[in-house]
């Protein structure tokens, strides 16, 4: 279970990007986070594994308080969180197999990493997962020889190789064409239920979000203003989430205070 409490992120002295956010994700549901650009979706995700350092607040994953870890323990703890990126973030010049095995770098020895002599179970599992997502025949191809959708699958397999307790996906389909986008979303949904894995996805395509998620979280300028089942997301709620500009928002808050 992932429990986020009063998470705040402020850059410099400006307005905070995340404002005392609370969020709990448990079980094996697929949660989509939606909101306009600048709502803080990406920052939220990156604060969970501290790729971005939270200013204050707590991030607790199955009993481990991430914000309190020193750098060495943080490295060890990050193995439990898998991440899929919008630009795939693969190592272009290496083969698909190496990219996939790089998800295990937190586990294998330096020598094994150096000589590419990966443990048998890791290789077997890699083939299994690659087969499952449909890229097993690319094992020896360079990552930059694959298409966008295929590359994202490599990213997904890499994340799953960590045997994570939770999967984060930061706009995984933003760089893909609509058809491929659906394939990836469908894949994520299926994997989530097969592996009993909670998944949090940042997404800007609301239609896809509604179709593939079990739960939708709507953010607006650093706050969660919607948290419910997909079919509860009507036009009124969408307006709330997507309309307006920050200045107006600040004016609203000022009026209340």
């Amino acid at each position: 279970m992932l429990k986020i409490t009063k998470l705040t992120k402020r850059y410099g002295t400006g307005d905070p990007v995340l404002k005392e956010l609370d969020l709990t994700v448990e079980g094996d549901q697929l949660t989509s986070v939606i909101g306009s650009s600048g709502a803080g979706k990406s920052t939220l995700l990156r604060c969970i594994n501290r790729l971005v350092e939270p200013t204050s607040g707590s991030v607790d994953l199955n009993g481990t308080e991430f914000t309190a870890l020193n750098s060495r323990d943080l490295r060890i703890a990050r193995r439990r969180i898998g991440m899929v990126f919008q630009s795939f973030n693969l190592i272009d010049r290496l083969t698909v197999m190496e990219n996939v095995q790089s998800g295990r770098l937190g586990y294998i020895s330096t020598w094994a990493a150096l000589t590419r002599r990966y443990p048998r179970e890791d290789i077997a599992r890699a083939y299994e997962l690659m087969e499952r997502v449909g890229i097993a025949h690319y094992a020896n191809k360079r990552a930059d020889e694959l298409s966008g959708g295929e590359r994202q699958r490599v990213g997904v397999v890499r994340a799953l190789m960590q045997r994570p307790e939770i999967l984060l996906a930061d706009e995984p389909t933003a760089s893909l064409d609509p058809k491929t986008s659906e394939q990836i979303m469908s894949l994520l949904r299926d994997l989530a239920s097969e592996l009993k894995l909670p998944v949090i996805i940042n997404i800007h395509n609301v239609t896809e979000a509604k179709e593939y998620s079990d739960r939708i979280v709507g953010m607006r300028y650093g706050r969660i203003i919607f948290d419910d089942l997909p079919d509860q997301l009507g036009t009124a709620e969408m307006d709330e989430i997507y309309a307006g500009v920050p200045a107006m928002d600040r004016a609203e808050v000022g009026a209340v205070a």
Binding site: E98, E121, A124, A126, Y127, E128
Partner: protein, 264 residues
């Protein structure tokens, strides 16, 4: 449905095992053979540590007593560099056109490329020796040497730039009925000017460095002063000269980089 395999090896860079192993073997043989047959006087080398000690203690603190001599040498190096750069650029422009495949006809192209290759092949020090024998000791030999050095670099790169120009602009001028010179001036020159200026500034910096060295064989400049200092075991003076050389090169590099960034 294929069976999940338990082993994987990264495909090697050179696929053919024969060539790959043959290459490793050749490299290993090279190392063993050369290291065994290198004429190294190991005693002298180990002596080197104590000699280095003596030299460095003799070198500190650096001596600026004869700074008059040093300044003279530097000014001479500077003049050599300036003249060589100007002369080099003036000669490089026509040579570059001669060596550009899209402008020159085949025999001229070959001639141009040939001149550039010869200019590049010999180290400036060797060229300096030849010029010293031909025109006597002193900065004139140094300037000639660096003109050749400049041509080897500037003409080559300029020729490459000329080969990459957008020919459409030349076509347009020709279609409008412009003559040869005018076409050059309007369609070609503007395209190569920025590159030429950048190369010129880079070459000035390069020549400044090289001018410090050609003096060692008698072609004028601070190099002669430095070689003398070493020869007379005046290590403190040598250190002073070297420090100033480094300083001048750094300043020149910074200025050159700054100007080139402003232009780009």
């Amino acid at each position: 449905m294929s069976q999940a395999k338990g082993s994987w090896r990264k495909p090697p860079f050179i696929a053919n095992p024969l060539i790959r192993l043959g290459l490793y073997g050749a490299v290993a043989l090279y190392f063993i053979f050369t290291l065994a047959t290198l004429p190294i006087d190991w005693e002298r080398v180990s002596d080197g540590m104590s000699r280095a000690q003596r030299i460095f203690s003799g070198a500190f603190p650096p001596s600026f007593e004869r700074s008059g001599l040093m300044i003279d040498g530097f000014l001479e190096s500077l003049k050599i560099a300036i003249l060589a750069t100007v002369g080099g650029i003036l000669l490089s422009v026509p040579l570059a056109f001669m060596a550009a495949g899209n402008i020159a006809i085949k025999p001229i192209y070959l001639l141009g490329r040939g001149i550039i290759i010869v200019a590049r092949s010999f180290h400036p020090v060797i060229v300096a020796i030849i010029f010293v024998k031909a025109v006597g000791f002193g900065p004139f030999a140094g300037a000639l040497t660096l003109v050749v050095y400049s041509i080897g670099f500037v003409a080559k790169l300029l020729a490459e730039r000329i080969e990459e120009i957008d020919f459409g602009q030349v076509e347009a001028m020709r279609a409008a009925g412009a003559g040869y010179i005018v076409t050059l001036a309007y369609a070609v020159l503007p395209q190569i000017m920025p590159r030429l200026v950048g190369l010129g500034i880079y070459q000035l910096d390069s020549n400044l460095r090289a001018s410090a060295v050609v003096g060692i064989v008698g072609a004028g400049g601070i190099g002669a002063t430095l070689a003398n200092a070493f020869g007379r075991y005046d290590y403190d003076f040598a250190l002073a000269i070297t420090m100033v050389i480094v300083g001048v090169i750094l300043i020149s590099e910074a200025v050159s980089g700054f100007i080139r960034k402003r232009i780009a």
